[in-house]
Amino acid sequence: MSPCWSATTALDALLDALEADLLGTSPEEVQAALREIGRARESAVHELRSLLRDATTQGHDRYTPAPSSDECDGMDARRH
């Protein structure tokens, strides 16, 4: 095994393990971490909510719902 090979594989293994750790963190531990960071929490949460809102808006713009079958036929459902 070359050193190059082990660096990428080692990182993958480490990130997967730490990711699983974060996903499995108990609510109590998350709360404890939140207490430790104090006021940085509000700005971080705000930043992340903005990011998610932007992405959601962009996603909705990109993937607008399909027109109804009537609209596909060039017919307006309101006329019925």
Partner: protein, 195 residues
Amino acid sequence: MTQPVQRWKERVAGAVAPPPRDVGAALEALSDDDLLRLRALARLRARGLPGGVAWSDLLHEAVLRALEGTRHWPPGVPLLAFLAGIMRSLCDEQWRRRRRAGALPQPDDTTTATLAGTGTEMDPERVYAAMEALAAVDRLFVSDTAALKVIAGLTNGLGAEEIQRHYGLTAIEYDTTRRRMRRALLRHGLARTWP
């Protein structure tokens, strides 16, 4: 109705079919705790990316992919785990794209023959990024000897019992170390920069 029109309708309906679960509503419903976890996950995964790709870009793209619905969100899988999986795929995709774009030097025949496999090992830039990321994680826990032992074990693909045995940690020491590591990752998920 003519066949071409029918086919067009099927294509349109298929292209914009909503995802089986409402990702948008689930994102809205995330608690502050979940957001903290999600941010830490994105920052962690972005460590292995080429320079210039921010964790926020990675997360943004993952959310878009989730909303797109091209990736199936399996029942019973939490949203955070689903997004983490997408981010992992995006990282691989990013490196593949760079390789295809010719941004990375192609390996010579000898290297290819020796290192045939995933292909990741043949990207000098990716190897450099991996080494940088490993060093950053080490720096994060530089004052915690037990954590460094656990990290060494994890990078070698060892399980909990193997790490304890190999590095002489008791089960309690191992568990408390993992807890410290989780909290540090969460705290640093909020930090502007890693050490």
